[in-house]
């Protein structure tokens, strides 16, 4: 491995300033032993690739992993100890890449912080790692683990009666913290209560029997507990997040422990709910819950499970274990309904204890404890609300929540999170997601906004266990036709490139062929995804299939989805990116992707997630069963275009999860001829002229309000595209009229529409141009 590895560039956890240096490493592979010694000394990274110093243990064959000095760990999945080693590694390290036989992990301060927060102690981590490693643990790694975990658990963040306190048994630590500007500014000094150094001292907060192993009798225990003093100071609720951030390993290095001792919480009323007996959590769901409730208390954090693996059951189980009021946040109204349904399905909660709060249904909260399901937007909304919803939001704000359950945490932009978290006061936060990747690297924010990652499932293991569908992923290469490619290359069409490669007739034919094949030969249910609205409508109209996009009303959506689920005649639906998240379509098992959101890895994974729910009999799905693959994911790509670039980039996340993409080059089969559309040149040419004559606005991407992961897009992006834009009724009349008036009135334009006169509708050019 040492030799093969050496050209391999390193992991990201070092500062990006080293990026350039690293690229030179890769180039001068030959000068490995010569020139690079200097580099090694300079940044201490050189040892990474020289593994000859690692000492191999005599019984290394029985041990499953390699630990390298730079924090990287490689795990052999064929080892008999794989399962145990995997459970351990996932707790202490960040998975980087998990193909079939060899996994790569990375130790980071954050991952170690997560490890200690689930109750692993420094010495245990080192001892177990040493036991599993084929080589003697490098000293650097041991030091690193010590350094990252030493200060953990000394400081606690506690929510008491709607006020936040920073607590610690060590006054010196608190003094240390207060030396920091951010923290001292966030502090609220309360009058009267001050002890000699200004900390509030409470005597009854001792950890009950933590260090006594239950050997003492009760009287002694009580005495021991009373002797313990806890020092604390109050901080401003709006500053909680900043304070937490300052305490993270990369700053003051006193990561805060956020635990909720819900069993002993007598202030907040209990909610009477249990899991129904038929709700049987699967092994990995149990495991993720056990990480959360490790020592009888509830920890804040994030649980990562693939789509379709039963995230909602985990959420509902957590809520019914805490048994306090629960605020559940989802991304849109459809998933609010789904969550409310899941709560009723899995738990014994009464109808009147659960309420939904969306713009359509504002159910008032009754009783003193219950579950409220709402969207991020509703809570974070800054504008004026109706009187009714103002009342509800006031209630949400004033309540102390036992659990804040957050669905799809990866999609919510950081600023909205901040707002939600500052508005709602909760003892414990649980984030759920399938894809902890964002193109804008804002994922790290989640570490202090919610908490460490508690559990992350391995996709391939779940596939093997039959818990999620076994998907065959394929990339279908469609060559551009001569005419389309000629236009694609022209400079003046640079804004239409996307429309041109999406509307490529060969791609259309491939799509039509696949739909026909799966509908007729296999009786599958198919979802076709297109981000480009122009393409979505063209394809759907031509093939006469129903479609759903941003502007489709809730009623119509429900109707189409219902038809797709029940009717034998509706086997294919076209979805824009509204279908990426949270629309639950368990029937579908084929996805055809004709256009996508540039290079977004998350979107690719989310779309795949639409078909991951396991279907059919378990034994058929196992390797060697009747149907080894029972779900299909096709990504149609026009060759020789930008799409190839994006397509490869998008696949990275799934490849890191161990999926592989098969390349198909001969679709549709050459003999399909006139069976499929756009066989004749004239048809192709008329399609081409349609694309070219469509306005730049119309061929662009659809923009959804909740979409914020847009760094992935490349520069030349168009802003808006809607159905009305295509019909010519783009609201242009209204927009131009208004801005025209403003122009005349104040000479100032305040509009989000581009004011380029060349883009103006020709009718209006005469008037304003």
């Amino acid at each position: 491995m040492g030799h093969g590895e050496k050209g391999r560039p390193h992991k990201k956890h070092k500062s990006s300033a080293k990026e350039e240096q690293r690229s030179t490493f890769v180039e001068d592979d030959d000068g490995y032993f010569g020139d690079e010694v200097d580099d090694d000394l300079r940044d201490g990274e050189g040892k990474k690739r020289d593994f000859s110093k690692l000492e191999l243990k005599p019984d290394h064959a029985n041990r499953p992993l390699w630990a390298c000095a730079d924090g990287r760990i490689f795990l052999e999945t064929f080892s008999p100890l794989y399962k145990q080693a995997y459970d351990f590694l996932i707790a202490i390290a960040e998975p980087v890449c998990r193909p079939e036989s060899m996994h790569e992990y990375n130790l980071t301060p954050h991952s170690l912080y997560a490890a200690v927060s689930v109750g692993l102690e420094t010495e245990t981590i080192i001892a177990v790692l040493n036991k599993l490693s084929k080589t003697k643990l490098p000293k650097e790694m041991i030091d690193f683990i010590h350094g990252s975990t030493a200060n953990y658990g000394k400081v606690k963040l506690v929510l008491k009666k709607n006020r936040y306190f920073v607590e610690s048994p060590f006054p010196e630590v608190l003094k240390n913290l207060l030396k920091d500007e951010v923290i001292s500014r966030a502090r609220i000094t309360s009058e009267g209560l001050q002890g000699n150094d200004g900390f509030t001292i409470s005597k009854s907060m001792g950890e009950m029997g933590n260090s006594h192993d239950g050997l003492l009798n009760e009287a002694e225990l009580a005495a021991a507990a009373e002797e313990k003093e806890t020092h604390s100071f109050e901080i401003d609720p709006s500053q909680v997040e900043n304070v937490k951030q300052r305490c993270l390993p990369n700053a003051l290095n006193y990561p805060m422990l956020e635990e909720y001792d819900f069993r002993n919480d007598t202030v907040n009323p209990d909610l009477d709910m249990e899991l129904k007996p038929q709700a049987q959590p699967r092994p990995y769901q149990e495991k993720s819950l056990s990480k959360m409730f490790g020592n009888g208390r509830a920890r804040s954090g994030i649980i990562v499970l693939p789509c379709g693996a039963g995230k909602s059951l985990v959420g509902v189980s957590a809520a019914s274990r805490i048994k306090k009021s629960c605020l559940c946040l989802a991304t849109n109204a459809v998933s609010v309904d789904q969550w409310a349904f899941q709560f009723k399905l899995w738990s014994t909660i009464r109808e009147d204890q659960i309420c939904r709060f969306t713009s359509d249904s504002k159910e008032r909260f009754r009783g003193n404890a219950g579950v409220v399901v709402t969207t991020y937007n509703m809570v974070a909304f800054g504008g004026k609300r109706s009187e009714e919803s103002e009342k509800i939001i006031e209630e949400i704000r004033n309540r102390e929540w036992g659990l804040l359950l957050m669905d799809e945490v990866h999609v919510v932009p950081a600023h909205m999170f901040r707002k939600v978290i500052s508005i709602t006061k909760s003892h414990c936060k649980l984030g759920l997601t399938a894809t902890l990747v964002r193109e804008d690297e804002r994922i790290t924010d989640l570490n202090f906004l919610i908490g460490p990652k508690l559990y992350e499932a391995n996709w391939l293991d779940l596939v093997k266990g039959g818990f999620i569908a076994n998907v065959q992923c394929a990339e279908v290469w469609c060559p551009m036709t001569k005419e389309f490619f000629a236009e694609y290359l022209k400079k003046e069409n640079s804004k239409k490139k996307q429309a041109l490669y999406v509307m490529n007739p060969n791609k259309f034919r491939a799509c039509e062929f696949l739909i026909r094949f799966h509908e007729q030969q296999r009786g599958d249910k198919i979802i076709v995804f297109a981000d480009n609205l122009f393409a979505l409508t063209e394809y759907a109209m031509k093939l006469r299939k129903p479609m759903i996009y941003g502007a489709t009303s809730h009623v119509e959506r429900t109707k189409i989805l219902e038809a797709f689920k029940t009717s034998r005649d509706v086997n294919t639906i076209f979805l824009s990116k509204v279908g990426d998240n949270s629309i639950d379509i368990p029937e579908a098992n084929v996805i055809i992707q004709i256009s996508s959101h540039a290079g977004s890895r998350r979107q690719e994974a989310q779309r795949l997630g639409r078909i991951l729910r396991a279907k059919g009999k378990l034994q058929d799905r196992m390797a060697g069963g009747k149907e080894e693959y029972n779900a299909f994911f096709y990504s149609l790509v026009s060759t020789d275009t930008q799409e190839m670039y994006y397509s490869t980039k998008r696949q990275q996340f799934l490849i890191d999860q161990g999926y592989s993409f098969k390349v198909i080059t001969s679709l549709p089969p050459p003999d399909s001829g006139p069976d499929l559309s756009y066989h004749r040149l004239e048809d192709q040419l008329s399609l081409l002229s349609k694309v070219l004559s469509a306005g730049d606005d119309a061929v662009g991407l659809e923009q959804l309000e909740e979409d914020a992961d847009d760094i992935a897009l490349h520069k030349g992006r168009r802003s808006m595209g809607s159905m009305s834009a295509m019909s010519g009724a783009n609201g242009m009349v209204y927009m131009e009229y208004r801005t025209g008036r403003k122009l005349a009135g104040q000479g100032q334009i305040k509009s989000n529409k581009p004011k380029d006169p060349a883009k103006r509708h020709f009718l209006f050019k005469r008037r304003y141009g």
Partner: protein
């Protein structure tokens, strides 16, 4: 009368032929190098442009392929 012109015979796929034609079209009249477009996959060009075409095609391909950053 028969005229003989020395040149380079290029055989490629349809999109690449379009790429080369587009390249040629972007150049000023004096530098145009295509002598004859034979059909959608065959071109006849000046004998000295092979390297230039090759590097332009390579650059175009690089733009369209993604390499995992590290």
């Amino acid at each position: 009368m028969v005229n003989a012109t020395k040149g380079l015979f290029i055989s490629c796929d349809i999109p690449m032929a379009q790429f080369i034609i587009n390249m040629n079209a972007a150049l000023p009249q004096s530098q145009k190098f295509i002598i004859q477009v034979l059909d959608s996959t065959h071109l006849f060009v000046q004998p000295n442009v092979a390297e230039m075409i090759r590097s332009a095609v390579a650059e175009f391909r690089d733009q369209n392929s993604y390499e995992k950053p590290n």
